[in-house]
Subunit: 208 residues, 2 copies
DNA sequence: GCAAAAATACCTGTATTCAGGTATATTAAT
DNA sequence: ATTAATATACCTGAATACAGGTATTTTTGC
């Protein structure tokens, strides 16, 4: 049921953290965490993982050299490289070894999970640089410059799943006022669809 | 700028993993990871964290006893207990010490972050048992059992931000047909608000 | 103090969604 | 072969959201 994963990363904190993140997602079973890449090939030969996550920067045997080895495995696993610097040249170097994905360590865990799901379903995911954010920086601090205090309050209330009507009730405002605020928010943030708006609403953190 | 956090958990894997998760969120700065709860009180007295995350099950000095100590700190920090078993009786025991939240270790990292954001803005969050998943398991495989092939196609199209009208065009269907499918989807998945639906749409993976 | 920004409220018309139906042809299951 | 499920399509009315206005009061910055 769950995808059997082997993690190869000398940096134990990240190895452990990633392990936890993958386990938490509910889709992955970590069958091994390997801290010394020199053991990876033999271990994978025995464990037959469906997915191997390999760090790029490792001592003794780096990601590139390891992938070269792993591709000679009889049992074909998906191989994903995780790197500190999502460099274009780095990716180029991997091209000939037919890896299934290339992810950056700066990617939020949710996006890592998303990417891995895509990869497990056959897609290839290459993240060059940090993905350009949607429209503007989605963090609260840049948002504060754009929106007024009241507009943020409206968003907070909408975040609870309220309709404009319900927001009006909660904040003791007229329905028309709430609608006006929403109109202004939409103008400022220029959403292309309802989905875009609600997606934004879901993602954004609006706390102090 | 970032919330200063101290983690208290003897289980280093979880401590490290949680640390990573908090850091990744961008809102938290981990100023200490404490593995022996007996050091927590003195450390917090020096470090003055805004948020203290405490594990429930710890050797020597367990979560309850530690919280009792921490509440005597001059500098008042938010205190959140994280437990393996989100037991109702456990929470009861904490009630008199006025903790700000009680979270389960089974909670996905994104939900932990969400909960902590709420807590930092003054709310209290008590998660008893693992929260009943949003109606059903949000993964594709359990979804397939609930929805028909066509319904999934409709969702895929909606995921692009299309309106029912546009979905109809893309799939060469009548607008009415698309609306019917959406109606059936909504019935099956029982969303409580538009926000819930679009949030689901954003989260779900619909690939093969 | 004055001008700008923000917050409030209202109106209109349209677009979109949602919930309640009905109905038929095709497909899958037993 | 005959149910049951699926996909299709249409209708209506209500609820919600969106886009275009206008307008008044309050707050804030200089």
């Amino acid at each position: 049921m769950k995808t059997k994963v082997v993690l190869v990363d000398d940096h134990s904190l990240f190895n452990d953290g990633l392990s936890l993140i993958l386990k938490e997602s509910g889709y992955y079973e970590i069958i091994a965490q390997i801290y010394d890449s020199r053991n990876a090939y033999s271990q994978c030969n025995v464990l037959l993982p469906e997915l191997i996550l390999v760090d790029y920067n490792m001592p003794f045997l780096d990601g590139l050299a390891l992938v070269k080895q792993l591709r000679t495995l009889v049992h074909q696993s998906k191989i994903v490289v995780i790197s500190m610097y999502a460099d274009k040249r780095e990716i180029e170097a991997f091209k000939e070894y037919e890896i299934d994905g290339y992810l950056s360590k700066t990617t939020p865990s949710t996006k890592i999970i998303e990417a891995l799901q895509k990869i497990m379903s056959g897609e290839k995911v290459f993240q060059i640089k940090q993905e350009p954010k949607s429209n503007f920086d989605k963090d609260f601090f840049s948002l504060k410059k754009l929106l007024t205090k009241r507009e943020v309050e409206i968003l907070k209330s909408l975040k609870k799943g309220y309709t404009s009507e319900q927001v009006a009730q909660e904040l003791c405002l007229s329905y028309y006022t709430v609608e006006t605020h929403r109109k202004n928010i939409n103008q400022k943030l220029k959403f292309n669809s309802k989905k875009d708006f609600y997606e934004f609403l879901d993602t954004i953190e609006l706390e102090k």
